[in-house]
């Protein structure tokens, strides 16, 4: 079952507008506050607490009335689950570029706790992409000249947000080095210390991508998102965008969050070890106590382009506008510049050496 958000004024399908942060009818330009529109649509439900392992997940299932407005498509090529509002005219899968086929409806989908609405428009994504291509001397000319964006899609990506408290005790081996001259000898004294730092630190809302179809490295590259701007989930924000459904649960994602917590904790305590010439971690004991887990939808613009039969994917943070994506390197340009720079720097070094010898 599909549902369109219809403009109460003219009956046209309405979308979420990034500039006004309201729902806007593209036909009669009437704007609606998201919450007011939702109240108008009478979409509300009670919450229910679900226990996930040793952590509390406060997510809830979409009610039938809420999932009415959403349809699920499954790409037959890559298997990606794409959940989108029915008014979305989607012809291609944003992950692999192949046409998506609508196969079913949303049933029993976990309702997100939070959603960060899109603040950047499709035009912003295009502009950021072309800006991304500037100042890249090794970019193949044909990539720049023949380049066209195959697809731009605004996608709400599912993230698990982890809260955690850590208690740590880390032992470092450190040195202080001192040198002096005496007679015909130069003395170097190295003093070795055992340094221990212990304490605690807390983390809030560390995001981990909950979709296997979305490359984790790309999703981490467009961080950070400002969660303070997040809103309580409302399916009206999906209007005009696509949304991916999580297919990795929080238990599977928590390890990635803990990896980052361990690294940060060690870095923080290492920062407290000062006045030494070298610091090496000897032993670290970091106990992580998991806290609340939240399910959130974050806005991402996905751009894909094809060059030399290879698909290049770029992602832009739909909130901050940060765009990432690896670019191809022109080998001919690379080696030509390498040769030129080699000759240039060789001449400079030789010239300096020659002038020094004359002095």
């Amino acid at each position: 079952m599909n549902k369109e958000y219809k403009c109460p004024c003219c009956g046209g399908a309405i979308n979420f507008d990034t500039d006004s942060q309201n729902l806007k009818c593209p036909f009669c330009d009437t704007e609606f506050d998201v919450q007011a529109f939702t109240d108008y649509e009478n979409n509300s439900s009670d919450t229910e607490e679900i226990s996930v392992g040793n952590i509390n997940c406060t997510s809830e299932e979409l009610s039938e009335s809420e999932s009415d407005g959403i349809s699920e498509y499954v790409c037959e090529s890559c298997g990606g689950n794409i959940v989108c509002e029915t008014t979305t005219a989607s012809a291609k899968c944003p992950y692999c570029g192949n046409p998506v086929v609508m196969t079913g409806n949303v049933t029993g989908m976990l309702k997100p706790n939070l959603i960060i609405p899109f603040k950047k428009s499709k035009e912003d994504a295009k502009a950021a992409y072309y800006e991304h291509l500037k100042g890249k001397p090794l970019l193949p000319d044909t990539f720049r000249d023949e380049n066209h964006i195959d697809e731009i899609k605004g996608v709400y990506v599912p993230f698990w947000l982890f809260d955690a408290d850590t208690k740590a005790r880390i032992r470092f081996k450190t040195t202080r080095v001192k040198s002096w001259d005496s007679g015909d000898y130069r003395y170097t004294e190295t003093r070795y210390y055992s340094v221990v730092r212990g304490g605690n630190v807390g983390f809030d809302r560390i995001p981990v991508d909950g979709s296997t179809k979305m490359p984790d490295d790309i999703m981490e590259s467009i961080e950070p998102f400002d969660v303070s701007e997040a809103q309580a989930f409302n399916s009206a924000y999906f209007a005009g965008y696509m949304a991916d459904k999580y297919d990795v649960d929080s238990d599977q994602c928590v390890e990635r969050s803990n990896e980052r917590i361990r690294q940060s904790t060690e870095d923080l305590f290492r920062g407290e070890v000062t006045d030494y010439d070298s610091v090496t971690t000897e032993h670290s004991q970091i106990n992580i106590t998991s806290g609340q887990v939240q399910y959130a939808m974050y806005p991402v613009w996905l751009l894909s382009t094809t060059w030399h039969d290879k698909n290049y994917i770029f992602a832009m943070n739909g909130q901050t506008g940060k765009l990432v994506g690896d670019l191809p390197v022109d080998k001919k340009k690379y080696w030509t510049r390498f040769l030129l720079f080699s000759v240039l720097f060789t001449a400079i070094v030789l010239g300096i050496a020659f002038l020094t010898s004359l002095a």
């Binding site: 070795y192 221990v196 605690n200 590259s221 940060s264 407290e272 720079f341 060789t346 030789l350 004359l358």
Partner: protein, 151 residues
């Protein structure tokens, strides 16, 4: 490998040409336009003198095993080896920086952006001296000697 060989040869040719050109007196270059014949004669004399000097230096080097140096300028010939190596290393660093700009997708190694404000507390802090180690290096001549003392 072939490209590297061509590149290396080109670098060496450039260096030797530039060095040889530096040996020509400025006065000789200035008079090329006005008095070409005399300038050419002077240049040929210069070449002859250079060849004789080089041959003489080679004889000395072979007989005494002396290190080859340019006596007129004090320029050490080892720079002809060091400079291309340094040039290639610097070029490689510059190209690595350029290539690094093409790659913007990287995983986050930490969660520094998500540290709760005011939650970082250090409750234990101890620094314990373990031992010391002293090394001694002679500075008087090339025959360095090392000694270690541990406490």
């Amino acid at each position: 490998m072939k490209k590297f060989f061509i590149m290396f040869t080109a670098v060496l040719m450039f260096l030797f040409t530039a060095t040889a050109f530096a040996q020509i007196p400025a006065a000789l270059i200035d008079c090329i336009d006005s008095d070409y014949c005399n300038a050419f004669s002077a240049f040929s004399e210069l070449c002859k003198s250079g060849i004789e000097t080089t041959a003489h230096a080679a004889e000395i080097e072979s007989s005494e095993g002396a290190k080859q140096t340019d006596d007129s300028s004090g320029f050490d010939s080892k720079w002809f080896i060091i400079s291309p190596i340094a040039g290639i290393v610097i070029a490689f660093i510059v190209m690595s920086v350029m290539k690094g700009k093409m790659k913007t997708v990287r995983r986050q190694s930490d969660a520094q952006n998500y540290v709760r404000d005011g939650s970082f507390n250090v409750t234990e802090s101890t620094d314990t001296f373990l031992y010391r180690k002293v090394t001694r290096v002679s500075t008087s001549n090339d025959n360095n000697s090392n000694n270690n003392d541990n406490d």
